[in-house]
């Protein structure tokens, strides 16, 4: 049961080694920097030190209560993250698969719209553009 914010890359294999012992179902989500235009170099992610880890822990505890998760983990990077690199991961463990799936899906929706991170796209020519929040992300939260 860990929520971590860091600049360094993480290793999914190491993160889930020993994760969720005793559970029947483990779900992981990994977000990767995508380049849809062929012009992007990296994301630059800003966050709110002090608030971020506590907010992530709050969302995870809510998800654990609601879905009966037996273990959870969030790792979210900040700073400059090149195209193709992993941005963040969520892992959930539960007795049964639907709880693990729903817990991870729910956490991702919270994290997208309620965790204090802000993304800027850095183009290959150095131009930096703040990423707009998507109304679909806000809609996704309202499913729960």
């Amino acid at each position: 049961m860990t929520a971590r914010v860091q600049t360094a890359p993480f290793d999914l294999a190491a993160e889930i080694d020993g994760f969720g012992a005793g559970a029947g179902a483990i779900v992981t989500f990994t977000g990767v920097v995508r380049d849809d235009t062929g012009l992007m170099a990296a994301l630059d992610i800003e966050h709110y030190p002090g608030m971020t880890e506590r907010a992530l822990q709050d969302y995870c505890r809510q998800a654990a209560d609601r879905f009966g998760l037996t273990d959870w983990r969030i790792v979210h990077r900040h700073g400059r993250i090149p195209v193709g690199d992993t941005i963040m991961m969520v892992a959930t463990a539960a007795r049964h698969r639907h709880a693990a799936f729903q817990g991870a899906d729910y956490l991702m929706d919270w994290l997208k719209s309620r965790a204090p991170f802000w993304k800027r796209e850095i183009a290959q020519d150095g131009t930096a553009t703040w990423v707009d929040a998507k109304s679909t992300d806000e809609d996704a939260l309202n499913r729960w």
């Binding site: 979210h76 963040m88 719209s113 204090p116 703040w130």
Partner: protein, 83 residues
């Protein structure tokens, strides 16, 4: 009352600094914004789009009517884009 004010993302860029300390008698976030908006053109630009404004009081998400009477830190930022 002395308050730490934090700005993130493009609000930080518009204000031109990541944090400042202000002395205020504002009772709510909304009152505080009215005071800050008058401080500079950058502040006015930062607070010009209230629909895109989010805030936290003492590191908890809050809204415009949240009281800040006992607060130590208020943060302003655009909608979050994590994950």
């Amino acid at each position: 009352m002395t308050l730490d004010i934090l700005y993130f993302a493009w609000l930080r860029e518009r204000v031109g600094q990541p944090r400042e300390t202000v002395t205020t008698d504002a009772a709510t976030v909304r009152d505080l914004i009215a005071e800050l908006t008058a401080a500079s053109e950058g502040h006015a630009a930062a607070f010009s789009d209230m629909a895109s404004l989010r805030c936290a009081v003492d590191q908890q998400l809050a809204d415009l009517d949240s009281p800040i009477t006992d607060a130590r830190e208020v943060a302003f930022f655009p909608p979050m884009t994590g994950g």
